[in-house]
Symmetry: C2
């Protein structure tokens, strides 16, 4: 059942959670070892993005009208109640999902891609450079760049470039310049290739390459797909809309669930409900067993990228040198989690659950067959946690309202489910020894 979105649900302001936090946050650190400031970020980002990244006082950040008009091309997104899934599970819980997979790119990434392209365009940038795993983020950025007449260049993790080809195809159809990372185009890439010409790449390396190129060019900016404060700020559209839509339907969320890769989708859903958290709402982040930064990581300052070109953030991390085993939801292979999400977890304001990819995919198929929407592998982790909570509600005879985020559709990766049905997907777990080594390798502060 869909709760029809109404125009007024589309916010006029993003929500910055920081002023509402009851604890203090450590600053990000620049390469200099001093707190990250405007001067560290000038070579990477336009001014309004830097201001949003560093903003600690303003709760409400106005959305420029031109940008809001673009959001209105696909937002507000619908809120659904998964009544057929409830029935199948025989749960008394009510399952509500905010569906971002109907955006032009098929994912929530377009929320921040459009904002970053807007600000880059007003800053006079002619190129935006970024890094992507399977391509959901890159596809969104390619669409946003076209809207502003900006050229888009994407360093794509080589294993995805070679195997998860649909993301690459769509970026190329959209006119983006897609480079297999590690590449010969940067000194970072050449360094990696010289030690291993067949290196499969990692998101950490691809980010380093994109940083290097963006920093060396005057006509280009870098765009962040997740992790950073401003990205979550843009993604709060999700939670702000969901809150309005649930309220109008007469329901109060009691459990809120989302998968975490870098944490921007989860933060975007949950932060606008921060008051509800203070009043007892549970917030559950869902991680992959192959890279569970919250559940098994270390809370420390760490680099955002493998080659340590970017800032250091205080976050739950498995170490920037940890390379998780190859799992299907490639975006979830990142070593850290947004500092804001990390801080909430540290303060015990939220929980984390971890699942293997087979547990997730099984749940994704159950959802597809009952609700008629095929989710992405990443969204399937969310669904798995939702199903477990719904079953717990059944056992305890509790009629809870569960709100979750279906952030991406299956466009770019259908073969994972097919391989799973054919028994060709194996579970992958944290490589504990490698994490120990990577944690030893954390920057000394």
């Amino acid at each position: 059942m869909r709760f029809t979105p109404e125009n007024k649900d589309l916010p006029e302001k993003w929500y910055n959670v920081i002023p509402d936090l009851e604890f203090s946050l450590s600053p990000a650190m620049g390469a200099s070892g001093y707190p990250l400031g405007q001067h560290d970020m000038n070579s990477l980002s336009p001014n309004p993005i830097i201001e949003q990244e560093l903003e600690r006082k303003k709760r409400d950040v106005p959305i420029p009208p031109e940008l809001r008009n673009l959001y209105a091309e696909w937002r507000p997104t619908p809120l659904f109640r998964a009544e057929r899934l409830e029935k199948k599970l025989e749960t008394p819980a009510r399952l509500f999902y905010k569906y971002e997979g109907g955006s032009p790119s098929g994912s929530y990434d377009l929320n921040t891609a459009m904002a970053q392209a807007y600000y880059a365009s007003h800053d006079g940038a002619e190129h935006i450079i970024t890094a992507t795993g399977d391509g959901e983020w890159g596809v969104s950025l390619a669409i946003a760049c076209n809207h502003f007449g900006i050229k888009c260049r994407v360093y794509m993790v080589r294993s995805s470039y070679d195997e998860q080809v649909y993301g690459r195809y769509i970026m190329e159809i959209l006119g983006a310049d897609v480079v297999s990372s590690p590449s010969e185009d940067t000194s970072t890439g050449r360094k990696v290739l010289s030690s291993d010409p067949k290196a499969p790449g990692s998101l950490g390396t691809a980010i380093s390459e994109a940083f290097e190129e963006a920093m060396s060019r005057n006509d280009a900016t870098f765009a962040w797909g997740t992790v950073m404060n401003h990205v979550i700020l843009h993604q709060t559209l999700i939670g702000l809309e969901a809150q309005q839509q649930l309220r109008r339907a007469g329901f109060q969320p009691e459990i809120c669930i989302g998968a975490v890769a870098g944490g921007s989708g989860f933060g975007g859903l949950v932060f606008p409900l921060y008051r509800e958290i203070q009043h007892g709402m549970r917030a559950i982040a869902v991680e992959t067993a192959a890279a569970p930064s919250l559940s098994k990581g270390h809370y420390a300052y760490d680099y955002v990228d493998t080659e340590r070109l970017g800032p250091m953030l205080q976050m739950y991390t498995l170490g920037h040198s940890y390379i998780p085993p190859g799992i299907r939801a490639g975006g979830m292979r990142y070593h850290g989690i947004s500092p804001l999400v990390s801080a909430l977890y540290r303060e015990k304001l939220m929980e984390a659950k971890l699942y293997t990819q087979r547990q997730a995919l099984e749940a994704g198929i159950m959802f597809a067959r009952s609700e008629g929407l095929v989710p992405s592998p990443e969204s399937s982790y969310t669904i798995r946690a939702v199903i477990d909570q719904a079953v717990a509600c059944k056992e305890k005879k509790e009629r809870k309202n569960i709100l979750f985020l279906l952030n991406t559709n299956s466009n770019l990766d259908t073969s994972t489910f097919k391989d799973f049905l054919e028994g060709a997907v194996e579970d992958k777990y944290l490589l504990e020894d490698q994490v120990v080594a990577a944690i030893n390798n954390l920057p000394k502060m």
Copy 2:
């Protein structure tokens, strides 16, 4: 720019164009050689579907409330104005598109799939059997069947089964039973395989196989993906909504454009605008050069399927034995066009244009880059015609309102554009000699 859909845009009744026609229609013919009646169709379809197929008097056909609630999960679909494309083309024309690619299946096919599954379910059917090319139709039917707890079995053209695998994957993820056609499961399939074990299959053969199985089972019905009157009836949701949405925005359509495979999407868009046609609106059907039934076919009674198990329809046809060359938009390889669309064309109430697949794909990429939505190869034919009309408006300095149908997104076929960009897609044309032979092979009436 999106015109936000409003709940009231979702019709309470489908529109049957037949009572409004100013000319008479020839009946469909059953295998007996007599006009098709209830008794011929009992073994294939539930009663309400048969009534809808044969209805000639009632203009408005009520949508059952349970079904309308399901439609409300993704309808009304949005109407967009392609302002960025207008700007790129420097055309004074206004380009409006009704976007059906945001449905759960990614295509307009779900409009009739849901209706047919609804009626089959109320008729007690436990299985629905159908035929599909690339899989858009099959995916929609699989979703609809799940909503009603019906098992879905799909004969899929072998060349698509082997090559356009994403449609098959999604049907299987949704739990449908997908059979490569020609198959060993039917006498039709065995006959084709015995003369050519490597036969690539065709939609005509797959329909014959599905007919054969549905007719031989008491617990199963057949579902039609296009061509038939009742399918177009269900698809009139598209035109009814678009009419309301355009009217509210203050515009009157002056040219209306849609690609035709079997004709149901085009009919669904255009028939509700029949009065506008009578008042001078141009309606343009867009065909592929490989199978242009309207432009180069014969107006005659012909079978809907290769093995002549189904009814004969009076329509523009290339002959049921014509097998068009392999083009990418597999659904457009059908030999005939809906009798209703054919009749309008015969009466000169509409036009037809034909394009090669390279002409279409080039336009699809231009649209993707300006509008940010990647269309299906079939929708790209529509876009090509729209661009040509928009350019003509520029030359004539005419500010026309052009309404077109974007019926399907690119989910199931991204590689076609990629192959096109790499120069690996060749134009294919009508095989004229084979059409001459197929026309000679038409049934003698």
